[in-house]
Symmetry: C2
Subunit: 125 residues, 2 copies
């Protein structure tokens, strides 16, 4: 990568380009990992990732990460790492902007590979 | 990891515990990567990382990432990925709070392994 390609990412600009929900875009790649951005609204499916830990940080709004034994509420400036194998269900009662950090191989619906919400080819943003 | 250990991280709380500069703490681990938090103040050394790409996101304040051909200014809600091998120098004209993502193997001063600022054993926070 040439230096001229090294450009910062302004998250608010990127989120303003996203007009759907639960459809992650790739905003950066490093060390085999991707920085993904998505808007969340409503409840997502229960799922887990067999081989990937997943990082969620809220940039705007508020989300809940439901685990089988508790609910973690995330607000801007808060993050949660869901370890591999742990069932979870993101829920956003109002629209929220979320940054995720995970291996490039991660599928959004984890073990539910054929959900209506499964996204396997993510656009860059 | 048991579910009871899955706890969110509130960045402002963690940064309030940091009273020095250029001394990254580990706030989370996932997929062989670490989430590191540090306060920056003043100019850091020019360095590069031979094998690691580095992610900088400003949570509070403002920093500059000096590259050999330009300066990128980062404010809250902005991030920059510095690819491996690219010389860079972070500079904070006022104290700033910065979140980094990088492989657990990354040394803060990169190729300058014996700088006064080199930190090889990072505390968890």
């Amino acid at each position: 990568m040439g230096k001229s390609e090294i450009e910062k990412v302004t998250l608010s600009e990127k989120f303003s380009l996203i007009n759907d929900h639960w459809n992650p875009r790739v905003a950066g790649e490093l060390n085999g990992q991707q920085v993904k951005l998505a808007k969340f609204l409503g409840p997502f499916e229960w799922h887990h990732h067999a081989n990937e830990d997943e990082f969620f940080m809220v940039m705007k709004g508020q989300i809940e990460i439901h685990l089988r034994d508790k609910v973690v509420t995330l607000r801007p400036g808060e993050f949660l790492i869901v370890p591999r194998g742990v069932e979870h269900r993101p829920v956003a009662n109002e629209e929220a902007e979320v940054l995720m950090f995970e291996p490039a191989s991660t599928i959004n619906t984890g073990n539910l590979e054929n959900s209506d919400r499964t996204r396997t080819r993510l656009s860059k943003i």
